[in-house]
Each structure stands twice: as C-alpha cells, then as structure tokens.
Amino acid sequence: MEAWVFSNIVVAILITAAVGLTGVVLRSRMWSNAFLSLWRRRRVAIIAIGFYVLVALLDSVSWVGGEQFGEDAVAKYQAQSILDRAFAGIRERSYSAPLASVEFYGGAPLVHPGRHLLGTDLLGRDVLHLALKGARVALLIGGLTSLIAIPLALLFGVSAGYFGGRIDDFVFFIMSTLASMPGLLLLITLIMVMGKSTFSVCIALAVTGWVGFCRVSRGETIKLRELEYISAARALGVGEMRIIFRHILPNLAHLVIITFVLMFSGLVLSEAILSWLGIGVDGSWGQMIDQARDELSRDPIVWWNISAAGSALFGLILAVNFVGDALRDVMDPRTLREGE
C-alpha cells in the first residue's frame, strides 16, 4: 500500500475514534466534568493544541495530481497533502527575509514578493510551510511512541505489582538494567541497529521511555491490590484476569492519561535532540533547527529559519505542559469523586 493511502486511512480512523471518544465523554458525567474544568483552567493551551492537531491532520490527508502544480513534474506525480496544496507553487530560488520582495543575498526580485510570511530557506522553500509541516512529525513521534511505551509499561508494571514475587524481580531487573544505561547512547545504538526511519525512532524512544511509567504503575497496582474491593472480588471467586481488567486497570486510567500528556512533550524534545545529532526524523522541527545552525554564522544572519522551528516547538511543548499540569489536578481521583 502506498504510504499516503495508509496515512489517509489513519486519519479516518483517528477522526472516527475522536468522535466515538467524544460520545463516551459526553455520556459519562465524570469525564465530561473533568474536561470542563480542564477547559476552564487552560483555554488558550487547549486551543493551541487543537490548532497543532488540525495542522497535522491537514498535512496527513493527501492525494496525487491537481491543477495547482502546473509544470512541476515532481510535485505533480507525488501525493500532496492539503497543506502542501495551500502552499503550492510559491517556491523561490534561495533565501528571502520575512515578507520581503527581493532575495536576501543578491537582491534579485522574488517570484511571489511579500507572500512569504516567515521568509524562505536556502532552497527557496517557504519557512511557514515547513514549520507547519513539522507539527505532523512531532505529533506522530509523540503519539506513536506513547502508543508503544504506555501499553508496554502497563503490561510489565501491572503484572509485577499484582503478582509480585519472581515476576516482580524479573521486571525490576529489566527496569534497573535499562535505567543504568545512558539514555542517549542507548537511543543512538537502537536507531543505528534498526536503521533510520520514523518508526525505528519511535521504537527507540519507547524502549528508553517506558521505565518511568512502569515504575509508577507497579507502585499503584501494589497499592490497589491491598484494597478491600480487590479482596472482596477474590472472595467472590472472580478470576485474576477479570480482577486486573475490571478492578485494577480502570483505576489506573487517570494515571495513563496524565503520563501520556507529560510523556508527549518529553518525546517531542527528545526527537529534536536526535535530529540535532543527525539521526532524527525527516521534516521535524529538530531537523530544521539542525539545518539552520550554519545559517547563524552567515553575515548578515539568516535568523527566521531557526526561530520559526524553535517557536513552533516551544509553543507545542508549552501548551502540552500547561494542559498536563492542569490535568494532574483535574484527574486526581479524589477531586474526580467530589466533582461528579
């Protein structure tokens, strides 16, 4: 299957899931109240995240062909996303400053004077376009990695906490081994072994990132295991698996959400560091920052490239951290219970 078809399908699935989830949230008074109080606390940050998500979705729906590419043979026969189409055909020959009408070096007139809100880069690409495209990569890295790391951490953490004994020893051994290795070296090694691709970067980040949440979920499971409703379920002859799925996991749900949000920003930052080392994902903000490094040593300085990527990254991280912080208060089971 072509990559762009797959991407369209994923977008369709995500939108369906979001609609379904909204239905669940609206039906449960507990969750909708949690969301309402989150909205009241962090309106701007939620809107900002919504904007990033929207941009990422616009950059994920793509198809081949289209009038606006004209004679550009490469673009014409490659899949182009909605975002690409919005920025189609405004390429320059080289650097131009934000909103300029002439090239930065040489002063030759631009093809589209004044249309580049954030200027263009060495190859004449629109910087705003590139910065917006970075949102998709960032969300992909954060989302996919969490999707691998959190179930892994839950599997190991809950089984270690619930069954204890040898399983606990085993999980703890793995966790301590991973924690004793320098994270960055392990990341580089894993990416070198698996080859450079978006997926292998996600796997490498997941392998180094699951330990923290595993420890948290293990501790929480040990606490829950001793509660009387678990004893009552055992006294009623309820099976171990059902106890884990009905009694333990639902009571870890708030932790999963909090961890997801807090983990997310860390992952996006880690990818930026990897890109800076040259092993990141193509099209990410980290890569833009890495490529813009040399431009800082030019005279006069080409500053708009690095500042666009940096601000986009900063904005997302700040918004996610703001929401994550508020989420921690909102999702606390005690406040949830009272607020319902």
């Binding site: 009387e228 409703y229 009552a232 379920a233 009623l236 002859g237 009905r246 639902p250 009571n251 219970r337």
Partner: protein, 331 residues
Amino acid sequence: MSTNASGPLLRVERLRTWFPINRGLMRRAVGHVQAVTDVHLSVEAGRTLALVGESGCGKTTVGRSILRLEQAQAGRVIFDGVDLLELDAAAMRPYRQRLQIVFQDPLASLNPRMRVRDIVAEGMRSFGIGSDESDRTDRVAHLFERVQLDAAQMWRYPHEFSGGQRQRICIARALAVDPQLIICDEAVSALDVSIQAQILNLLRELQDELGLAYLFITHDLGVVRYLAHDVAVMYLGQIVESGPTAQIFESPSHPYTQGLLQAVPSVDPQRRGGAPPLSGDVPSPSAPPGGCYFHTRCPLVMDRCRSEPPPVASQGAVSARCFLAPGSGSE
C-alpha cells in the same frame, strides 16, 4: 446445598498464619510476624460468634485466613465437613459462594469506577447465578430492597452514597451469592453510632430470615453483647477465652477479658471503679513474650506465667487459657 447435620458449620482448629519478615538479597526469612498463632473457633449454622480483641491482635487475619485471602501455615478450617486449607483454587471456588465477607471501610471495599449494580452482580456473574444480565438486574433490585436501599439508585457510583448506604451495598454484594456464613470484619466500626444500630438491626433481621451465620470480628463489646450468641476473646494471635456471650459478660475467667470488660465505660455509677483497666501496650507480634503471652500486662501475674504457657481450661461451655481459670486444676 445441604449442611452437614453433625457438628458446627465452621470449625477452625489450631490455625496459624505467620507473615515472614524477609531481608537481604536472597529474601531469607529472618523472623515472623506471628499474627495468628493458635486459634480455635466454631460457628454454628444460623448463629453469631463474635471475635473480639484489641487492634493488632490478629482478628482480621483470622477472617482473611478462613477465606484463604491470606495463606495459613498450619491448622484446619473445616467448613461443612471439608478442610478448606487443603483445597486447590478450583475446589475452593464452590465454597467461596457459601462463605462471604463484609469489610470495615465501605468506601475502600467498593470499586469507585463501577456502578453499584455491577458491583453487586459481580458475584452472581462469577458463580453463574441468574440466566442473563436483565435477570441479574432484577435480582440486584430485590437485594436492594432486602437491605433497605432504593433500587432506583443501583446505576449510581459508590461515592454517591453515604457511609451506611455503602455498607448496605457491601452486605447486598455478600448476600448476592446466597451464602451460609458471612464474616463481618469490623463491619460497623467505621460508621456513626446511629448508623451502626441500623446496620446491626439489618444483620439481625437477615439472620432471622435467611438463617445466616456470622463470624463478627470487632473490638466493640457493646456490639458483641447486642448481636453475638457466643464470644471468643483474642490476644496476640491466640484465643484466650471463649464461651456463650451472657456467661462471659457475667463472669469472665481470664484476666484479659476482665480487663476488657472493665475498660467499657458504664452508664451505671454503681459499676464504676474496681480493678484498674488494662495498661501498657500489646507486645510485638514478631517477638511474643515467653510463657503466657499476657503475662507482661496481667495484674494477677505469677512466676509460673513467665516460663510456662498455660493450658486451655474448660468448665461447662467456657474455656480459658489461664492458670487461674476455673477448671484448670491449679488454683
């Protein structure tokens, strides 16, 4: 579900549950918390036995060991003629339906993420009671009426109920599988006195209607006198005295029981004063004293108590673990 005609419904013999204290790399046991050392109990069908004692004496562990929520090291738990401690998990399952438990903290015993209807129906589902979900819902509604709750509230979550209502839900959950014996582990201790009385009355009504037997674990002697037919007094993992409630309250033979009864505040000015109530703390269960376990706090301690564990002396229906008890032959 026939009850063995001969003998009590539940008989506990020489039960011992020690928790190992593990230290070091190899998890070697360096000692034991001797929560339950030597417990004998028997509960007749349709009757109530109260197990009383101070905090930390091992009462709760006895209840949990009977249900095999804790692993007992030694002894026998004979329910309806079968030793539960010898059964494997699969063979134990049918007995779980006949033995139920109600805990002290009604909020901690209800999963906050489940609707109370699902909480009460969980045991039915586990044992295949009821033909389908709607039949179970009807049964839950019936149980709600039985414990005097509004059946319309069964789709709510536990936190939407008051403490007394939550304890009624816990009782309904236990009743859902139609048990013969319910272990009430401090079941009213966390409640207000007025609510306590309602729950105790409910438990008594249920006993009359359904012929339930209770093992009532408590530290509240007022509750014991109100509810229990028989009493077993526990101290540091051992039963020190047991017998019919009236007799024990009238003439306690063990110094510990005497101390406990004197510690109960009396409304009758004539009965105030007398021997000093118990002083000092319960010794650590990981290092119990030699001889009689009670000698460190006993007002009537003799030299022999410090070296020699007293035998269980029986006279009539009462038995006591003391050299001074009637029937010990050593007065």
